[in-house]
């Protein structure tokens, strides 16, 4: 929990570096801009919300604040996580509201040169295109950067 916060300041000082918290969802590595991240949580008790969009896993209590839990697998059209696999989540702040993004595993904090950031391939699944701003090519794997704003915009997208 304290880890992302300490490295955050390092990210600010080097202007050409961008800092991400990485997370694992169904064997895919994703990155979330560190400035949006508030917390990384272990498995939590989540209270379900009847009638909520399917992407909404429920709500949880984070030190007296109500956090809406978003199931990243659902949001990204991935298969549901096995029941025996405890999930983790990153808590992000979006317009003053807290959301917890349910993932399989928290990764590390990565500082990456801004110059290496590249657009996603045009053949990417449209659902993913919608929530991604671009990717980084890392050693042996690809890091997909999630755009929080669009990731949390599904309510309106559906209504429109």
């Amino acid at each position: 929990m304290s880890k992302p916060k300490t490295t955050a300041s390092a990210g600010v000082t080097t202007t050409e570096e961008r800092v991400y918290v990485t997370l694992m969802v169904a064997d895919q590595l994703f990155g979330v801009p560190i400035h949006a991240v508030q917390d990384v949580l272990g498995p939590q008790r989540i209270n379900s919300i009847p009638l909520a969009p399917s992407e909404v896993a429920g709500s949880l209590n984070l030190r007296g604040r109500i956090v809406t839990a978003i199931d990243l697998r659902k949001r990204l059209g991935l298969p549901t996580r096995a029941a025996d696999q405890p999930g983790m989540s990153v808590v992000v702040d979006h317009n003053g509201e807290l959301y917890s993004l349910l993932m399989d595993q928290a990764g590390e904090v990565m500082s990456l040169p801004a110059a290496d950031f590249e657009p996603y391939p045009s053949t990417l699944d449209p659902l993913w295109q919608e929530v991604t701003s671009g990717i980084y090519q890392l050693d042996g794997r690809l890091l997909v950067i999630l755009e929080i704003e669009r990731l949390l915009d599904f309510g309106k997208a559906k209504a429109a």
Binding site: P50, L51, G64, I66, G155
Partner: protein, 850 residues
Amino acid sequence: MDDLLREFLTESAESLAVLDLELVRLEKNPNDQELLSNIFRLVHTVKGTCGFLGLPRLEAVAHAGENVLGRIREGKLSVDAQAITLILTSIDCIKSILAEIERTEAEPEGNDADLIARLNAFAESADAPATVAPTPAEPVVAKVEAAPAAPAHVETAAPSAAKPGAKPAEGGPATAEATQTIRVNVGLLENLMNLVSEMVLTRNQLLQIVRGRNDTELTVPLQRLSHTTTELQEGVMKTRMQPIGNAWNQLPRIVRDLARDLGKEITLEMHGAETELDRQVLELIKDPLTHMVRNSGDHGLEKPEDRRAAGKPDTGKIVLEAFHEGGHIIVKISDDGRGLALKRIKDKALQQGLVTETDLAQMSENQIQQLIFRAGFSTAEKVTNVSGRGVGMDVVRTNIEKIGGTIEMKSVEGKGTTFTIKIPLTLAIVSALIVECANERFAVPQINVVELVRAGGKSDHAIEKINGTPVLRLREALLPLVSLRRLLKLDATDIAEPDEAFVIVTAVGSQHFGIIVDRVFDTEEIVVKPVAPILRDISLYSGNTILGDGSVVMILDPNGIASTSGAGEISDDRTTEEAHAAARGEDRSAILLFRAGGNTPKAVPLSLVARLEEIDVAAIERSNGMPVVQYRGQLMPLVTVNDNAAIKDTGRQPVVVFTDDSRSMGLIVDEITDIVEDTFALELASGQPGVVGSAVIAGKATEVIDVAYYMGIIHADWTHAATGDEHKRVLLVDDSPFFRNLLKPLLAVAGYEVTAVESAEEALRLRDRGESFDVIVSDITMPGIDGCALASEIRSGGAWQATPLVALAANASDIQRGQAAGFNDLAAKFDREAIVSKVSQTLLNLQGAA
């Protein structure tokens, strides 16, 4: 001490403290224009408030000080030590006077001519820049607070001495008032609130652990901790709540000024100032409220001569009201002014291109009135300095909607306008009932809960189903039920419905309905938190909250449940406006739908139905050629809707039971199809016996059954038997949609053809259109033309001169007034039977007389 005065003292103490610092800074940076402007503004504010509070001595000093600052600002005087000293001295003088005011609540005797003269002389020296003769005086006596009556002394010491010399009064009594209240950032309070919530949770966990261990050593301190935590929680919650009166404090003054400026006489009445609401919400509605009160005073109320001409007292009245209702805070602003002229609104709306003629033709009066909330709308014929400056009602509406509130307006031309603002309890604390359904817990605001009924199992009540629609018989009435499990689509879960369930009897407006849940826990004080934006479209929730055990639960919104479930399948297509109308319970009533003798759906108001039964066909006997059944120790006759309908040969026969006093009747039906909430507007009168007419209910053309007709067939002595083929026409005039809804079907089933209108004006329009009625039933108390005035108007001449009039009287004084005005008869408004019998009697008398 007067609140206003206290606020002034607190504010002034703050301003003066800032002034001290700023003046010193100005001395160091004489060319800092921004600093100078700020100082000027602060002194100006102090001066302004003094004048308003009637503190002439204070005002005179502040005024002189302001003069000097004005010269400096104009560049006619330069900022030097002498100037600063002089100003600081005046500020010290103000402080000492303030200290005295705080002590005695009155301005001390005395005069500051000496100081003022110096200040003025200094200010004038700018115009005659020859000499700025430093007036010699005794040195430094800034600590004047000890002798407030003594004239303040002015120091003309060297610059170096000026600063320290001016300071001593700072810590003096003037700041004592400031220490009574402190201003705290709302963010800090919010943070405290979260910390306390977390603390409560931890406390609860600890209690749980200790309970398991039976460790007596821990019990006592833990109890103390628990107690303290609860108090702390309450305390912190309270910090956020403020009485709405705080937002109203300034209004009397504004209204007074307004009255003076516009040459009107206005009184302002305020009720419910103690109603508490969240501080943040309070701040946000302050400006809209002020604006609306100004509007009422400016546009709403007439000048005394116009009021006299309209037969009203010279003094106009603005009434502010606040109260809690259905989990909301309602604020009403009403005036007895000229009301909104529909024609002017129409003209204006057309002129500004907000609507077309066609639109207008289709709009109801109410809808037209709501146009004033549209952007860019202002009917003020001239722009006054008070209102009509483009900050219209649309801004007010936007501001109120921003905090999740709604605003409505009702206006009667010539009588006045009422605005109703409904603010949700966002962030407020409410008492809620915690319930469980399919292992999920929910909170229901206690304010909506009428009672709890245990049903099924060994209890006295059972939930019965009519074609899958659950109902509950509660004290001889049928209560429509909503299954929370179904509503929230929780049926998919494998948790079986328990044998025993609970029904939460809920009131939304005038409607009652029951919500079926599995279990009921305790009531808890909950902090309502708004739901995440993603979930805001779900109308069933009004918020969410964290319970004592740390879990997050959704708060159910009975209004949303009523509107979602009431309309059944068509709920999705409903516009928000309609949903709101449903939530307010306007023009909607519960209707029982069934099939009998043919495929056309048939309906009857649920309020007339006593019970729904299924009787064993074998139990049906015949008496006097009529099918009867033994029912509750009596013989109950059974009737079929028409000749096509027949009693089943075997099995159980569904029957709708109607009762009137001791008589009852069973109507044979093929199938009960549904209970819906819908408007009950007869669209086609019918010549067919036994059918009142047709109405569109739940989207289908439906025949509305004339219960009185069948009662008449069976019980020849049925008092208000209708002739069946010839319907008497009744005009019902009542401003309350509730009563119109109640009486219209009542009179309709008694065999009358009812036309209901909501105002006397509308009734008179019908007269002018040449409509005729056999009897007119009118409420006495109505906005606009009231019942008595309507009666006088009708009796004074015209087509209806001889039409019998029956008044609905709500109290004794109405009776006298009513008779004087020309009503033939009066019925107590709340006695349904009396109303029907009075109507039939009046008609009978008339026939007898003819």
